[in-house]
Amino acid sequence: MTSVSQFQVDFTRFLDPQGEALAPLPDFAQDPAVLLPLYRAMHLTRIFDSKAIALQRTGKLGTFASALGQEAVGVGVASAMAGEDVLVPSYRDHGAQFLRGVKMEEVLLYWGGDESGSNYAGPRSDFPVCVPIATQVCHAAGAAYAFKLREEARVAVCFLGDGATSKGDFYEGLNFAAAWQAPMVVIINNNQWAISVPRERQTAARTLAQKAIAAGIEGVQVDGNDIVAVRHAAQQALDKARDGGGPAVIEAISYRLGDHTTADDATRYRDAEAVEKQWAFEPILRLRNYLLRLEAWDAKREEQLVKECTEAVNAAVEAYLATPPPPVTAMFDQLFATLPPAMQAQLDTALRFENKQGGGHG
């Protein structure tokens, strides 16, 4: 008998939870000018999340999925992307979206029930968030193929969760992108939970990264709470994909510190103590510890930053709350490039009943 295939999955961590370097750091990690914007972006994401949850609790926002504890994944990856790359996000990736130029009020509009929140003023080619789990992997593979065909130096960057790796679309998308050697980078945001189902019951596979290997793609693991490791791995994958090296998969191991969404109550299925322990590993604390070691940070600047982020979030909330509901015509006006004449009668009915409705629909 001969062995015809073997595999290995590498795990990378640069900073330990105390912010101490465990290995020689990549160049960018020595430069506070690079790190401070990342630190700010993670803070902004967390402050945005807590504000969004408060809005939902007071009936001013719909269901919302917070990224609490996973801020380094979105921020680390998006900070390595080029502007002309395309983000193909899941519903928990607003941290990445903000760095791409998506506005906070747009994200609020979306979760507040207005499609115009997906009409990003900034990144015009980025995909809207994807709710049907894992379907976006196929879209990313197709987008990457378009870049390859037109010989554009762009990469499609796709996010999905640990649970999402159980779906066929994930495997199928990876397989296509690899068969085409298309420039796609897939980030598995392994926060250990898919609503109530823990990672170990999602799959018998030892790692999620190894699922890439079956498709002929290199799969690596990084500590998703170490933004240096996330950004470094993302940069390598992006550079390789941009240079025609084909797709890559990064499994970023993090932890969902909050409920799945505001509609969820995680105390029903997981132990509060186990969650509490995870706070020691969270990414903002870790980068702060490192910045303190670099003497690039102090309490005063921290206070200033939190204040500034809070003001930015509050301004976005005000803009969101001041946005009137869309008119009834909004259901029709982007259905097709031009409204087919056959739809006119329905539009007329909708207009005739506009705002005279609502009986029984709480």
């Binding site: 719909g62 269901t63 519903y91 979306y110 979760w111 507040g112 029930g113 207005d114 499609e115 709710v131 049907p132 789990i133 894992a134 649970g163 999402a164 159980s166 779906k167 066929g168 898919a194 609503i195 109530s196 189902v197 019951r201 999602q202 799959t203 509609a263 969820d264 029903r268 299925y269 509901p325 869309p326 009834v328 909004a330 259901m331 029709f332 259905l335 739809m343 329905q346 539009l347 009915t349 909708a350 009943f353 506009e354 705002n355 005279k356 409705q357 609502g358 009986g359 029984g360 629909h361 709480g362």
Partner: protein, 326 residues
């Protein structure tokens, strides 16, 4: 007898059948420890064990596909799809296998499974959580499509669906899950499939609907009664196979009919009923049959949801027009 809301009635029906038939099992995402995101399966895993109440990996294709394998081998799986917007990956298995395994094997193998899902809008849910896919399934030969409209009917029809020897798609109106309670005798009595239920007798016009929109239809019927228009209200309950006989009997008496449904109008199930009336009841009609359905638009996000769902006002308007015509 207990006062139950619709989701509790579903839970009781599942528990009753699991208790009395060891072949019944429940599978789906978050149905075990968490009891389902709407709590339809709450307590079942603690009571019947994780081997009969399975928290599956996240994959609707495999939920439907493995249910078919189980059903063909003598189990009676009740598979939950977390929201109707995520039922589409099951369609390959439902159309190509579940609905035709009996026919393909000349009855040697069959597929006694239930695919249940919360369906429809009205709870201000996020994107892809408010769809009503009923018409996709009513076009599939070999499939039963059932939509309960109350706790009692959810209990009795779900029991019937589980006991039925063929596959059933069971669409539970999300908006009704906690809207009201009813006395439900948890006695294991099933209701008949394949028949319409008359909710209200009247001789002036027949209002045909099912599921959540029966709320608006009943409210409209109340308003119309105050104007002296006595509407007969029919709950179709099993869309397929359709009990056209009950509808025709009613329309023969009233001569007028308005069909109300929450799914989009074009290719919607209302068209099938209207066609049945045109084919078999034309000479008793005193006015054209009208439909009140959702517009042929993508289900909007929450802020336009109330403009999208068929309202009492639209139903009353359609009835008045139907009464005026002659």
């Amino acid at each position: 007898m207990a006062e139950l809301n619709l989701v509790e009635a579903v839970n009781h029906a599942l528990a009753y059948e699991m208790e009395h038939d060891p072949a019944v099992l429940v599978l789906g995402e978050d149905v075990g420890v968490n009891g389902g995101v709407f709590r339809a399966t709450v307590g079942l895993q603690a009571r019947f064990g994780p081997a009969r109440v399975l928290d599956t990996p996240l994959a609707e294709t495999a939920i439907a596909g493995t249910a078919i394998g189980m059903a063909a081998m003598g189990l009676k799986p009740v598979a939950e799809i977390q929201f109707s917007g995520f039922i589409y990956p099951t369609i390959d298995h439902i159309v190509n296998h579940a609905s035709r395994l009996r026919n393909r094997t000349r009855g040697r193998l069959s597929c006694p499974m239930v695919l249940r899902t919360p369906s429809g809008g009205g709870i201000h849910a996020p994107e892809h959580h408010s769809e009503n896919p009923e018409a996709l399934f009513t076009n599939v030969p070999g499939l039963r499509v059932v939509v309960p409209s109350s706790p009692q009917r959810a209990y009795g029809l779900l029991l019937a669906a589980i006991r039925d020897p063929d596959p059933v798609v069971f669409l539970e109106p999300t908006r009704l899950y906690r809207l009201f309670k009813q006395e439900v005798a948890d006695d294991g009595e099933a209701l008949p499939l394949d028949v319409c239920f008359t909710l209200r007798a009247g001789n002036d016009i027949t209002l045909v609907s099912w599921g959540a929109t029966l709320q608006e239809v009943q409210a409209a019927a109340d308003l119309l009664a105050a104007e002296g228009v006595m509407a007969e209200v029919l709950d179709v309950a099993t869309l397929k196979p359709l009990d056209m006989e009950t509808i025709l009997e009613s329309v023969t008496r009233t001569g007028r009919c308005v069909i109300v449904h929450e799914a989009a109008q074009t290719g919607g199930f209302g068209a099938e009923i209207a066609a049945g009336l045109a084919e078999h009841g034309l000479y008793s009609l005193l006015a054209p049959v009208r439909r009140v359905a959702a517009y042929d638009v993508v289900v909007p996000l929450a802020r336009l949801e109330s403009q999208y769902l068929p309202s009492v006002e639209r139903i009353v308007d359609a009835v008045r027009k139907t009464m005026e015509a002659s």
